[in-house]
Structures are given as C-alpha cells and as structure tokens.
C-alpha cells in the first residue's frame, strides 16, 4: 500500500490514491449501470419488438428522425444495442433507422439524461444534459441519413442479416413475427426471472468495461501530474481531440461516463462534451461489436466520420454555447 512508483516526474502512482479514486468511481457509477441493465432486461423480456417497429413512421426520412428518439422509450446502452439492431434489421427495419437507433439510443435516453444531470450538478447540469441529448440525436440522424445513400449490402457484413431483396432499399417497417421479441411463451414469474437473468448478463458485460475504464481514469486522475496535460486542455481543437481519444480508449458505458467526464476538470466543457457524445457512439469495444453487424470498412469509416463531425461541432460551435459559463 505504501509503494510508490515514480516512473517519471509527471507520473507518481500509489495504491492508496488509485484505490480511493477507483472505488469512488465504482460506488458512484455501478448503481447507474445496474439501473440501465434492469431496464434493458425488462424491455427484452416484456416488450415485443413489434412495438418498437410499429411506432415508426412509414416515410423513410421521418422514420430515421423518429429512430433517434426510440431510446427515450426503450433505453438500451451501447453494449446491448448491437444485437437488438441486428435483429430489427433482420426483420425489415431500414438500415438507416437501425444505425440512427444504434448511435442515438445510448445517449438519447432518460437514464443517460439523469446520470448526466447528476454528474454535472453544480456545473450547469440542465445545459450539459440537453446539449448532450440534442447533439447525440443530431449526430445520429446525420449518420443515419448518410447511410441511406448506401446500399445495405455494401454496409452489412455478409451473412450478418437476412433481408429480402425487395426490402433492402425500402423504408416500410415489417412487423416481427409473433413472440419474436418476447422470445418465448412463458408465465409472468418465468419472464420475470428471465428479465433478471438478462439484466445480470447485461450488467456483467457492461460493468467489466466500466471497471476497466474506471481503473484507467483513476490512474490518470491521481498519478499523472495535471500540469503535464494542461497544454492539451488549453487549445480548443487539441483538447477536443484529446478527450475523444480518451473516450475511444476508456470504452465507458454511457450510463456512467458523465461521472468520469466530470472529473476531467482541466479540460474545457466542450471537450468533455465531445467525450460524452463520441464515446457512446464509438470506442474500442464498439469497434468489435459493430463488426459483428457491419463490414470492417464501414465501421472504420463510421468511426472516422463521427470523430470528425463531433470534433468540429464541439470545438467550433459549442465553444460559443458555453462562452461565459465558467466551466
């Protein structure tokens, strides 16, 4: 416990500091990951998929716009969204709607809104919460509309989904077969147990990445002399790019990443916003998850596109929104 590792003048690691910061992040974030997982499990067990597809407009553009808001009704974090999107596309959901839902849902949902508000209490919480939701929605819709320009077979990984040819470019929503989303005919207690099991599995899948991210963040926040990163934090573009790079590596869950973003107080708020919008849409973990459904080339292009778009918006536009906020 007393061991100190001063590899360089700017890096001084001690177990005491690491454990204190790491545990604080865990105690604060794990309840939120749990809540998200419980809701996700309940949706998977009790909400038929036809409800999700049934509420979308028939018009392609409107359907894409509406898909970005599905997370408000069906909050699913980024760890669980890919299998759901894959299934929905397989049942006839337009790829553009699927991509929009996939990118927006981890941000535009009530759990993330609440956790963002809670994490930024005292730091303009309403402004930060709404900025994150609106920006997340906008970027997801832009990505979805861009995907509309591509043929599904040029994006989707071969064999990942089975879409009837006549529906590939269509925007009509095909209802799913009965019990497809419920998965099984069961009594309420059986569904309840299934919901708990799914929630636990969701939690384990997500919390593993969260704990790894918390460990990295705790090391960074206690062992690294903050003076060394001040030059990165001072310049708008550099600070924004740096925070998105950190998000890429940390692979945090969107339900709790706001708490970690809030700790990077050396960085301007618009750079931290880039962290909170880019991270849930694309990180190392999601790169592999997206590759299950999409071609590698598309996944890489998606990542680069999101990086550039979010970076430009945050470093060029949000800087004016937050002017005078002293954040």
């Amino acid at each position: 416990m007393q061991a100190k590792y001063a590899l360089m003048s700017w890096f001084t690691f001690t177990w005491q500091n690491f454990l204190f910061s790491f545990l604080a992040l865990a105690f604060e974030g794990l309840p939120f990951v749990l809540v998200g997982s419980l809701i996700s499990g309940a949706i998977a067990a009790f909400v038929p998929s036809k409800i999700i597809t049934g509420i979308l407009p028939k018009n392609g553009l409107l359907a894409t716009l509406a898909s970005g808001l599905l997370g408000l009704c069906f909050p699913v974090c980024e760890c669980g969204i890919v299998p759901v999107v894959r299934r929905l596309i397989n049942k006839g959901l337009p790829v553009s709607c699927g991509v929009t839902f996939m990118l927006a849902s981890p941000i535009v949902n009530p759990i993330v809104a609440f956790s963002t508000f809670a994490a930024f209490r005292g730091q303009a919480p309403w402004l930060n919460m709404w900025t994150r939701l609106v920006l997340g929605y906008f970027v997801a819709v832009v990505a979805g509309l861009t995907v509309r320009q591509f043929k599904p077979e040029s994006i989707l990984r071969k064999g990942a989904v089975k879409i009837p040819a006549r529906k590939r470019l269509a925007f009509s929503i095909s209802p799913l077969p009965d019990a497809a989303m419920n998965g099984f005919e069961a009594t309420f207690p059986e569904k309840l147990i299934a919901a708990v099991r799914m929630a636990c599995d969701d939690f384990i899948d997500t919390a593993i990445y969260f704990m790894i991210g918390a460990a990295v963040a705790a090391t960074f926040n206690t062992a690294v002399d903050q003076q060394i990163i001040l030059p990165l934090a001072l310049e708008p573009t550099l600070s924004t790019v740096s925070m998105m790079a950190i998000a890429l590596v940390l692979t945090l869950c969107s339900t709790s990443d706001a708490f970690i973003a809030a700790t990077f107080v050396s960085f301007p708020i618009f750079a931290r916003m880039a962290f909170m919008v880019f991270g849930p849409m694309f990180d190392l973990k999601l790169f592999f998850l997206y590759s299950v459904l999409f071609k590698k080339r598309f996944v890489i292009g998606l990542g680069i596109g999101l990086f550039v778009l979010i970076g430009l918006i945050c470093s060029r536009l949000l800087i004016y929104l937050y002017a005078g906020q002293a954040l």
Partner: protein, 311 residues
C-alpha cells in the same frame, strides 16, 4: 454441470459486489467517497445486487435467454472465461478495496491535481455551501463541520457571514492601511460559529472565499480562528499548507483547496495528517485580489472531521 457452476460464479460475483457496497455504506466509510446525495443509491444498489445475484445463481441454466434463441444477446453468458473475468474484474478489486483502501488521498494525488486558485470558479452542487461571485449570502449550513454545535449559533440567511471567513485578528491595526483588510465589522460577527474553546470555527473554504469577499474579511477581522485540515509541508519549516478536498460528486473529482499557514518553528506532523490550527488570518493585496495567510499561534494533531470532504 459446467454451465451451472459458472452460473454460480456469476451469482457470487453479483452478491459480492452488493456485499461490498453494503459494507461501505453501513460502516460509514462510504461517507469519504461520495457526496451525500449519492449514498442512498449505493445502499439500494447493494440490496438489489444481492437479490438478483441469488436469483441468477439459483435460476435454471437452461432457461431460454433474450429474444430468439438463435440470436441471444448474451451468447457468452455461460462462458467460463467470462465468469472468471467478471469475478476478477468486478468483485476482486472491490473486495481488495475493503481491506486495503485508506479512504483518503496522500500528498502525491494532491500535488498532481494542483490547488484551486480561485474558489469562486469552483463547480459546486446546487444548495451547497459554495457560492458564486454574485451571491451575497453564504448559507449557515456552510459553516465548518468541525465547529462545536452547542457553542455556535446559526447564522441568519440574510447576513453576509454564514460562511466562515478570515478573521485576521493580527491585522486589526494594519487593516486600515492594507486595502485587503477592512475595518472591523458591525457586530454581525456574533453569528459566527464558535468552537468549544470560544474561537471562531472556520473552514478552509471560508478563508478562501474571503479572499474575494470584502464583507467576510471585515467579519473575520480581529478574531482568533480555528481551522481543521490536512498538513502538507511547505518549502521551509516555518510554513505549510492546510489542505481540504472539495468534491462535487465523488472523491474521484476531488479538488484540493489550501490555505498557507505560517508557524514560528518546526513541527512534527505526518504528511496529510489532520491538524487543528488556531491563529489569525492576514490578507495581503496582490493585483486586484487579496490572498490569505494563516498566522498560527498553535498547531496540534486532531481527529479527522466526520465529513473529510467539503461539498
């Protein structure tokens, strides 16, 4: 059989996580980690973890999962690697924290984070003691946690003094010449919180707020004050920093606040040990703002306050 075993491991992991959360909550150690608003969440989560962990471990392993069997979201749910990784990544670090964590930072974290230069720009929770530059009132609840509640009286909301401020007794005479030290106050200082020995009980935040608040400097003038904080050695034996950590959500976002203290001679206090400083605050004008220095008459080791963090 193997699936059932790893199901059990996952269940134990969840129960273990819940047990750790509950342990920290009921032993009071959680108070050092989280803002009070987050602590009940930990209690609730701890209970839920234990319940769902039991359900998970006891449930049939052949129950159909997720949506379609062929497209299960949790294809690795019964993976032995996943169960073992989850145990070591989720439970083991938390369990290690129960035994190994000292529930505080050492001086390296404080120095790495750097001290807050202007407390008025520090983020704070709504309803917390921290105030903005436009605020004229520091709420009574902002007063030092280390004050003697029996001896102190609550400050009225409409007085400019509910927060402790510098009471630079030593500067009573020099205050007229130094623009940073206003003349003695108008009697509102009777509302200042008092320690058991009659001294004015302040927090580090109070002294730092007074750097930018003329009314506080006035109120604290000519008073013998008492401040509790952590000892951080200075550049020589006659000075040190009195440190408190300020948090918004949890200890991970803690920012060090420090007041320089001048003493007459060397001291024997451990680094980051808790000390009580009795003395008088002096303010010197540098540029457009004043800077506080605590002239210590007495420095002694003391127990940590109930709330080690300031909010």
């Amino acid at each position: 059989m193997r699936a059932k075993l790893f199901n059990l491991v996952n269940g134990i992991t969840l129960i273990g996580v819940g047990a750790v959360l509950l342990d920290f909550f009921f032993t009071g150690r959680l108070d050092q980690y989280l803002h009070p608003q987050f602590r009940p969440w930990t209690l609730v989560a701890g209970v839920i973890f234990c319940v769902v962990g039991i359900v998970y471990a006891a449930a049939k392993t052949n129950a159909r999962c997720c949506i379609d069997g062929e497209e299960c979201v949790h294809q690795n749910a019964n993976s032995p690697v996943r169960a073992v990784v989850a145990f070591f990544v989720l439970f083991v670090p938390l369990a290690a924290g129960v035994a190994l964590s000292k529930d505080s930072y050492d001086q390296h974290a404080v120095l790495n984070r750097g001290f807050v230069q202007d407390i008025t720009k520090l983020a704070s929770r709504s309803g917390s003691p921290a105030r903005t530059q436009n605020d004229q009132v520091i709420p009574p609840e902002a007063l030092g946690a280390d004050m003697d509640e029996r001896a102190s009286e609550p400050l009225p909301q409409d007085t400019p003094s509910s927060q402790p401020g510098p009471d630079a007794a030593a500067n009573g005479a020099t205050g007229q010449a130094n623009p940073a030290v206003p003349s003695p106050d108008d009697g509102s200082s009777q509302y200042l919180p008092k320690a058991a020995d009659g001294n004015v009980a302040l927090e580090v935040t109070d002294l730092l707020y007074a750097e930018s608040e003329d009314s506080l400097r006035k109120m604290f003038a000519d008073k013998t004050i008492e401040v509790i904080g952590q000892y951080l050695p200075g550049s020589d034996a006659k000075q040190f920093k009195l440190v408190r950590m300020f948090i918004v959500c949890c200890a991970a976002d803690a920012r060090p606040l420090a007041v320089p203290v001048e003493v007459s001679g060397p001291m024997t206090v451990t680094e980051m040990g808790w000390v009580k400083v009795v003395g008088k605050a002096t303010f010197t004008q540098k540029g457009d703002r004043s800077h506080v220095v605590l002239q210590a008459d007495k420095v002694e080791s003391t127990d940590p306050p109930a709330e080690a963090m300031l909010y």
